[in-house]
């Protein structure tokens, strides 16, 4: 099938543009919170460029202490990002026509937004390299740049609690969790996770509540089967 590379590139750019603008406030919030935890703009830029996974970066900054608990932060990133296993597995089918090496490069840049748009495009027309070049790089650079700007600005904000700034994190996570809502079964998973997480938090120092809560939610999902649709 013959396609015009420029129009493919433009199509990729067009579908990602709204999401690119929409993540800017979150990038600023993340950078500012990282600055409050004592991370430098260069460290935040490195994290955004190498990890490039907003949800896990929010969790990491939330858990960050000095000196950084690298094992707990790595494990937390692994848990929060486990959904990428499923997303890149589904993308494997979509990218079947691409060389294997290029597939492994592409999934480095996998994000919820780019994944969703790539899969949607693939339902209508085969994915092309120019389309992916429109879809991915601008979104990636945008995230790195705005998290660094957030760090530069955020270091100068004093007493962020007064503006409810600390709660922005909590609200983002609740909003992201609700995005996975599929009915009462999800509610049960979330309730099991919340109770075990809060109890662990009260009983044990450190970020272990993320692991125990997540395990409890998954156990609940396995033990109580989802009603058939």
């Amino acid at each position: 099938m013959r396609t015009d590379p420029l129009s493919e590139f433009r199509a990729g750019l067009a579908v990602i543009l709204p999401a690119t603008l929409a993540v800017i406030p979150f990038a600023l919030i993340l950078g500012a919170a990282a600055a409050q935890k004592g991370l430098s703009p260069l460290e935040v830029g490195l994290m955004s460029a190498l990890v490039f996974a907003g949800g896990s970066q929010f969790v990491a900054v939330d858990l960050w202490t000095d000196p950084a608990p690298w094992l707990a932060l790595g494990l937390a990133a692994l848990l929060v990002n486990l959904r990428y296993v499923l997303m890149s597995a589904s993308l494997a089918g979509t990218l079947k026509a691409f060389p294997r090496f290029w597939q492994f490069v592409t999934v480095f840049f996998l994000a919820d937004e780019t994944w969703a748009f790539a899969e949607r495009r693939a339902r209508q027309t085969p994915l092309t390299t120019p389309f992916l070049l429109g879809l991915i790089p601008v979104f990636y650079v945008n995230w790195v740049v705005w998290t660094v700007i957030g760090t530069l600005i955020g270091g100068s904000v004093r007493n962020p609690e007064a503006y409810g700034f600390d709660f922005a994190f909590t609200a983002i996570f609740i909003g992201l969790a609700a995005g996975f809502w599929k009915g009462p079964h999800t509610g049960m998973v979330m309730a099991a996770s919340a109770v075990v997480s809060a109890l662990t938090y009260l009983a044990i120092d450190g970020p272990w509540y993320v692991m125990t809560g997540a395990m409890a939610g998954m156990a609940a999902a396995v033990l109580v089967p989802e009603p058939a649709k």
Binding site: G55, G74, L86, F167, A171, W181
Partner: protein, 100 residues
């Protein structure tokens, strides 16, 4: 403007863990069960992790945070993400002022 060794190690640990999830998916694409217990656990994972992250603030910090978290959840099921965050932040500021 500097990078400490501990922070760099943590960032690299996160980067390796995150790429592992992305690369592993490509690698095992043909072997993920379409149903069954493994699938049920994986499907539940994102919501379970995100809930576990917020539970200490939402349930074990104070009444202002608990009520604001409930308001945020209701908003999240109806509004886009950015409006949800704005609702939550306004709610917690007002509730902290009123309750405390």
């Amino acid at each position: 403007m500097s990078v400490t060794a501990a922070n760099l190690l943590a960032i690299l640990a996160m980067a390796v863990a995150t790429y592992a999830t992305r690369g592993f998916g490509l690698w095992i694409a043909d072997h993920i069960p379409a149903s069954g217990r493994t699938r049920a656990a994986l499907d539940a994972l994102p919501a379970a992790v995100l809930t576990a992250v917020v539970a200490p603030v939402a349930l074990a910090t104070g009444p202002a945070e608990t009520i604001a978290a409930a308001i945020t959840l209701v908003a999240a099921l109806r509004l886009p993400l950015l409006a949800t965050v704005a609702t939550g932040v306004v709610a917690v500021v007002v509730l902290r002022y009123v309750l405390g």
